[in-house]
């Protein structure tokens, strides 16, 4: 199709591209971004992964990792009971150590949101701004026909609005990878703008929007960079690597690349966008590499729940084991932390 579709305006796109937010303007802009040298990117990520984090730095890192986790269950077999159990774990990650911080959010399917909200009770952030250590936990819901995103826009918007109405503080949407790979950037852009609009609550405030790129399907780093810019231009509050349903999910090079985009956006506009690697981060050791990458790429101020999250489930218990080890001097074992 060669006709320029006028895509729906979003404030950021208007500011960066000018009044002419068309499919072709988006295409020119995204394809004019500097390329990514895969070897160089991977080498840089590997180098960041060799940082040696010890003693006090490690103790701080472990606590902060917990405070950045979106504790997740996204199974067809999820039940209200499973969600309540997940919420209990989110509130008391380690029953043997009361000093253990709470996670940032629980992440569930849209229909599970009411159960998560109910189980959290007073600890539910419910749209309030959260800080590490305040004990408040957000409810994040995946929406827009997660994980494939293969549904009509109307269905995706209903999916989103439904989760927001049920009390979700954050919406994790997926982009239309098919449209992106076919070069229909305008379609992807419009959808994000519309979903963002669907995140609006009755009081006029918005649920936080995380845009999942599903980098494993985008395949090239150049695509990841373009999709990151596209998502930010369309109004995403966070860019997120993966659904966790496609392999490879989050990798350190992909996350580094997305952090570089966020850093460049901040250079350009002064605005801070969040990044969420999700899927495949299972050990404390790996998670610490991500913290190092964040701190050395965009700066330490990004290590806050409103700017960086881990989408993970099994990571939490490994961090708890490491915390216990720091405290007691010896390793315990998987039976000394609870499964949710």
């Amino acid at each position: 199709m060669t006709i320029d579709n006028a895509v729906s305006p979003a404030q950021r796109a208007l500011a960066v591209l000018g009044d002419d937010v068309t499919e072709s303007a988006l295409k020119r802009y995204l394809e004019g971004l500097p390329g990514v040298d895969a070897t160089g990117l991977e080498q840089r990520a590997a180098a960041l992964g060799t940082r040696s984090i010890k003693a006090a730095s490690k103790a701080w890192a472990l606590d902060r990792i917990i405070e950045l986790i979106d504790l997740t269950t996204l199974e067809g077999a999820d039940t209200p009971g499973k969600v309540r159990s997940l919420v209990a774990k989110a509130l008391v990650p380690d029953a043997t150590d009361g000093s253990t911080p709470r996670v940032a959010a629980v992440c569930v399917y849209g229909d599970m949101v009411p159960f998560a909200v109910e189980a959290l009770g007073a600890a539910h952030a419910a749209g309030r701004a959260t800080e590490p250590g305040d004990g408040l936990v957000n409810v994040a819901a995946v929406a827009t026909a997660f994980p494939s995103g293969r549904a009509s826009l109307a269905v995706k918007l209903a999916d989103t609005a439904d989760a927001v109405a049920a009390g979700a503080d954050e919406i994790d949407m997926v982009i239309d990878r098919g449209a992106f790979l076919a070069g229909r950037y305008g379609t992807v852009f419009d959808e994000i703008v519309a979903v963002k609009e669907a995140c609006r609550r009755a009081d006029g405030s918005y649920a936080h929007l995380k845009v999942i790129l599903e980098t494993g399907e985008l395949n090239t780093y150049d695509n990841v960079r373009r999709a990151s810019w596209l998502s930010i231009l369309a109004g995403g509050d966070f860019i997120k690597t993966s659904t966790g349903k496609v392999s490879p999910a989050a990798t350190l090079p992909v996350t580094l690349l997305m952090l570089e985009v966020v850093r460049d956006w901040h250079r350009l506009t002064g605005e801070r966008i969040g990044v969420k690697p999700a899927g495949g981060i299972r050990s404390s050791k790996d998670a610490i590499k991500y913290l190092v990458t964040v701190a050395e790429t965009v700066g330490e101020e990004w290590l806050q729940p409103h700017l960086f999250r881990f989408g993970a489930s099994s990571l939490l218990n490994d961090v708890l084991l490491q915390r216990q080890k720091l405290r007691s001097g010896h390793y315990s074992g998987a039976d000394y932390v609870t499964i949710d």
């Binding site: 500097p34 160089g40 984090i53 010890k54 006090a56 701190a295 050395e296």
Partner: protein, 480 residues
């Protein structure tokens, strides 16, 4: 405490069993030297590490005689397969003692442990493995059938990659069937002496490898010795010239790997984040003590400001300090003398009108330190754009067209290496073709591999080290 102030993560020196004193390694044994012994110090603390013997002319006589005898009686009678066996053994011992060698290297040289651990020592092992494989295949090296060894090689190496330069010299020489007398730099003899222990451990026949320590006089005696068949030198162009003069007319074969002032060319279509990493790696790797360092950044005028901004932001995250800390990115300058030279040239840069910038750095009280530095507004006529500084100092120049980039890159008496950054393959090939430099890196910098020949044009020297070409330097019938 901020997270970015990572808690100290020092590499343990516990496995390093150093002797208080080291003699010369001649004919398979450590012996006393007749020159005045000297202390080798840690440039990060200025504390002495060990005392090291100094070889005088009589010691060099003994070493060369031992090498000659080993060559005539033993090494030249072995099959290539047997020589290879010894080299494989050395390579494995280097791997086994990798941690120890890395610690010793960082202690003596001042380079960060992450570089000695992840770059230097693995490459040393790789070099021995690579040339071990060649030892029984010399007939197939493209030098004609049955190429013959030269005899005794006198080798003099610099302080910037002490053990790696030793490997670059010794591995091909031995594989080709020569015996060697090697002199490490006086500020960094430690790992060569540990290597002597490895030679003993490997059961290498006595006299095949001899290590003589000392200063310039020792090197001169070695180079000038009449029974040396081949001289190989890596170091400064000034000393290289002196050696070329001394060797001229003697019939000795010579290879020289000298200085450089490499251009690192960044086009406006470069992968920008990776180019920034490449610029940093090009000049701040090993404190810029690299003969092929990308010390002249040629950046297309249209992206100059952006590149400099990003470079400054990146430099602010470099960690300068204790070489033995695993998180250190930039270590200590190797010697007071080198620090003085870097300071002097940097001051000249300022005096000539270039703009100097360094990130804020806190240095330890003792030791030799120099903050990573970039100079902008540099003109091709400035001394900091022409002379090798051999330190963490980058000169930023601009160009407008590919033709100008090529002209400026080639406008130097040196010609060791160059870098090109562009996402356009055809441009990379076209520019690389016109650069007069022995090594041209595309979208990377300071990468080394034993299979790849390395060496210079013009005042950067002649002869190639590494690869099949590196064998030719040690074989009769080979070109140089």
């Amino acid at each position: 405490m901020s997270f970015l102030d990572y808690a100290p993560a020092p590499e343990s020196t516990a496995l390093l069993n150093l002797r208080p004193e080291y003699g010369l390694f001649i004919d398979g044994e450590f012996t006393d030297g007749h020159g005045e012994s000297f202390a080798t110090i840690s440039p990060a603390t200025e504390k002495p590490i060990a005392r090291v013997a100094s070889a005088d002319a009589s010691d060099i006589d003994r070493a060369v005689a031992a090498a000659r005898k080993a060559y005539e009686k033993r090494w030249s009678t072995l099959s290539g397969r047997d020589r290879g066996k010894y080299l494989f053994r050395i390579a494995r011992l280097v791997q086994e003692r990798a941690r120890e060698l890395a610690v010793a290297e960082s202690l003596d040289n001042g380079k960060p442990i992450k570089e000695s651990r992840d770059v230097d020592v693995p490459l040393v092992a790789a070099w021995f493995f690579y040339y071990a494989g060649w030892a029984d295949k010399l007939d197939h090296a493209g030098l004609g059938a049955n190429p013959r060894a030269l005899g005794v090689a006198g080798q003099v190496i610099p302080w910037n990659f002490p053990l790696l330069m030793l490997a670059w010299k010794i591995a091909p020489a031995l594989a080709a069937g020569n015996t060697v007398v090697l002199k490490p730099a006086e500020t960094t003899p430690l790992t060569a002496l540990l290597f002597a222990e490895i030679v003993q451990q490997a059961g290498l026949p006595a006299g095949v490898v001899n290590i003589v320590t000392g200063a310039g006089e020792t090197g001169r005696a070695l180079v000038n010795h009449t029974d040396v068949n081949k001289v190989a030198f890596t170091g400064s162009t000034a000393v290289g010239r002196e050696i070329a003069r001394a060797v001229a007319g003697t019939g000795k074969r010579l290879t020289l790997e000298l200085g450089g002032k490499a251009a690192n060319i960044v086009f406006d279509d470069a992968p920008i984040d990776q180019a920034i990493e490449g610029i940093v790696n090009g000049i701040f790797f090993n404190q810029g003590h690299v003969c092929c360092a990308g010390s002249r950044l040629l950046v297309q005028e249209s992206i100059h400001d952006e590149v400099v901004d990003r470079l400054k932001a990146r430099l602010s995250t470099l960690r300068v300090g204790d070489p033995l800390d695993k998180n250190t990115d930039v270590g200590a300058i190797n010697s007071a003398e080198q620090l003085e030279r870097i300071r002097t040239l940097s001051e000249i840069g300022e005096a000539e009108g270039a703009e100097r910038w360094s990130p804020a750095c806190e240095f330890p009280e003792n030791g030799f330190w120099f903050a990573p530095t970039i100079f902008t507004n540099v003109a091709t006529s400035h001394r900091i754009a022409r002379e090798e500084i051999f330190g963490p100092v980058l000169s930023v120049l601009t160009f407008r067209t590919p033709a100008e980039a090529i002209a400026k890159a080639n406008n130097t008496p040196y010609g060791l290496s160059a870098g090109i950054w562009s996402e356009k393959g055809s441009r990379i090939l076209a520019v690389a073709d016109k650069l007069r430099a022995g090594v041209v890196w595309a979208n990377t910098f300071n990468r080394f591999d034993p299979a790849s020949p390395f060496g210079g044009y013009k005042e950067s020297g002649f002869g190639r080290e590494g690869g099949r070409h590196g064998l030719a330097a040690y074989l009769e019938g080979g070109v140089r």
